[in-house]
Amino acid sequence: MNSPSPTTPNPQPYFMLDTPATDFDFSTASETATAVASGRTSAVRVVEATLARIRERDPVLNSFTAMTEHRALLRAEAVDATRARGEPLGPLAGVPFAVKNLFDVTGLPTLAGSKINREMPPATRDAALIERLETAGAILVGALNMGEYAYDFTGENIHDGASRNPHDHDRMTGGSSGGSGAAVGGGLVPLALGSDTNGSIRVPSSLCGIFGLKPTYGRLTRARTFPFAASLDHLGPFARTARDLALAYDAMQGFDADDPACARHPIEPVAPLLEQGADGLRVAVAAGYFKCNSGETCYAIDRVSAALGANRDIEIPEAERARSAAFIITASEGASLHLNRLRTRARDFDPAVRDRLLAGAMTPASLVVKAQKFRRWYRDEVLKLFTDVDAILAPATPCTAPLIGQQTFMFGDTELPVRANLGLYTQPISFVGLPVVAVPVPLVPLPIGVQIIAAPWREDVALRLAHALETKGVVAAMRPAI
């Protein structure tokens, strides 16, 4: 697995643990919550600094499509009042967060990155995950840019403009949760939510150099969010540490009858388990289809696998075919969702999205059903692997962030279209709903991510490994140099 790296590794993580907090710029959610709980700062102060930072920096990053300033300040005052009364605070007290704009936010139309949805009436209730984070004390500060209707791996948006990579503003964030990647990677907020149908949390996490969690399918409720491909849609958090992912994930777990796919699974807090580290966990590296194919991806996989003692390869059977099946199902389910809008409002779509959806509508049903049948076969085969291993490592993206507008990239000796292929390593995994943590390997000039893939319902395994790698200094969300 040894491979040369064309880039310079820079594994020194940046933390502010010993730095007196002034505006909590680039502080983690955990640090902020601790500071608010201790009275070292107030939630109002944190939120005011956050809003100022967004106003100052977002004209460049283009990650926000709406700010919820008034609501955020009211919520912050409520958190501070709770503390003043001596009542207990939630684990995310005073932590600012933002959500991909497919989450319902009371008072805002749920854009889902589209022009058409701007005409929708404002939402009358928050998405369930927003409610759960705010119950834990977090404070919503706005809604984030995304690829139209989430059918995107680039972070580009014809209506709102491209979200910009915090490490190089001329480059893509990845998508479709591009604003989430830019806002967290750029230090605007320590925590964001996004969706992942085929890789839309893991791809921007990789390109923006941050941590992202795509939980098991059915683990987190999708109630009151705008869908894309129902049998593949997941929601999850972005953060700059594994601990922050765990804190947010723990706050969002639990059955919800408002999402038909949400499983009746017990709440299993992970944050208390993080310090167990990697001891006793069997880790392998995905081979075959997932074999790294660039200097950056090989370097990242080599570093992570060495740190975890993952010295064996494992073949995920028929992964290429699984990706194809995911491709077909996505096109078909997405087209079904938008069929009436394609009939009546086709000119108001992003042309790149419209053409894909129209083609999806024309896909013969017999082929889609065959893909769903293959999916069950593949799921059974993949689950067998977890009798021998606890986690599998694979690249998150085939390359570091392409330039905005770039149409193709080199994959080995082959030139591939960017839009359809940035998720080629992520699609075969979400296809059967496995939990994955994308961890950032800090390379210069651009970071790249590695997927830590676990068995269903074993988010704890992936998050423990992510935390262990962070502790060893192998992975880290770096403060952008620009």
Partner: protein, 71 residues
């Protein structure tokens, strides 16, 4: 282990899709601007290439679809 080729990147014999696109659009009540034809055909061809890869995989008659995955 040697990486398997990504099949969609191989040269493919173009499939004539004009009639399928036209008939599907009519059946579904979709109106296509002529300037969209090339993009729609490109994407449909890509989907059908992926579908061919899935279709060639042998499955038993009693294979159950996994329309919604329960882990």
């Amino acid at each position: 282990m040697k990486r398997k080729p990504i099949r969609e990147t191989k040269p493919h014999k173009p499939v004539p899709l004009d009639s399928l696109v036209a008939a599907s659009a009519q059946a579904l009540g979709l109106t296509l601007d002529p300037s969209w034809q090339a993009g729609v055909k490109f994407n449909l061809q890509l989907i059908l290439r992926h579908a061919a890869l899935v279709d060639e995989f042998p499955l038993p008659d009693d294979a159950e679809p996994a329309a919604v995955f329960h882990a």
